[in-house]
């Protein structure tokens, strides 16, 4: 675990689906990196939406110094008690779009 919200998002389901389609490891890794980066942007969008704007600078500074620190989640919970659920929901929504694309490729391959 390298980021404080890593336990809320998971890429294993996308990785399994990609394994069925793509054999090459480096290709899968590149695709997963793209998904991971998109998830970070989406999660950061959710966090900054929930956090009052006057605390944005402070949070971003602390996050840049200690990205893995679980205290960030404690800090965010003070402003939004259900932040964990919101991060999960946003991550699932983002992953859904990527899964849809994988589904399209699977269908095309079968037909």
């Amino acid at each position: 675990m390298s980021l404080f919200y890593d336990h809320l998002i998971s890429l294993t389901d996308i990785d399994r689906e990609l394994e069925e389609l793509i054999v090459e490891y480096h290709e899968r890794a590149h695709l997963l990196e793209t998904v991971d980066s998109a998830l970070h942007h989406a999660v950061m969008d959710t966090i900054l939406t929930e956090l009052p704007s006057e605390h944005h600078q402070n949070f971003l500074r602390e996050f840049s110094i200690r990205p893995h620190d679980p205290d960030h989640l404690v800090y965010l919970t003070q402003f939004s008690p259900d932040i964990e659920a919101k991060i999960r929901t946003k991550a699932d929504e983002t992953k859904k779009k990527f899964k849809e694309e994988i589904g399209k490729v699977k269908k095309a391959k079968k037909s």
Binding site: L3, L31, M44, L48, Q57, F63, E101, I102
Partner: protein, 185 residues
Amino acid sequence: MSLLSKFLGRGSNEYVYLREAFASHHHKVEEDLHANHPHAVPTLEQHGVDLKTVRRRAASVVAAAAIAGLLLARPHHVGAPQLDRQQAQEHTQLAANSSEKGSAANKLSHSKAVSLKKPASSGSSSTTSETNEKPSKKNVGKGHKGHIRGRSYLAPPKEHGLHDLGLHKGDKNAPHPIKEKGKKA
């Protein structure tokens, strides 16, 4: 065909399609963040954080912390002298003795304060000599093997807590063990 595409760096058809599709979704999410919070990305850039590579950065931070912790736990890896078990025990004994000396000094200062209060009494010197008795030869070599300050690790905690602070040693009314032995003899 697949070998040729591999050499050309294109990859399989599925990969190429997914790469483009994923990139467009990634771009949309990135745009959303920029539109909703335009100040966030410049702030992160100011601190040298890119959300695309944040995981690598976090991993390096964690690794650096782990290495620092390891070096602090094992200082001889950084050049500090390595102590074997016997030397380490000697160090702990020295530390224990110095703390005992500190408590004796406290007692001395306390007894001096008492003697200052009663300058006329002739027995004050004898009382100070009793309180500042040197440890007997039997006790010097013993050390604290398996015990913290004479108490077993398995012993239940003292209820009043005075034993932990070493305050029980200053009980004036208690009979002195060495004196009692002398009387008996």
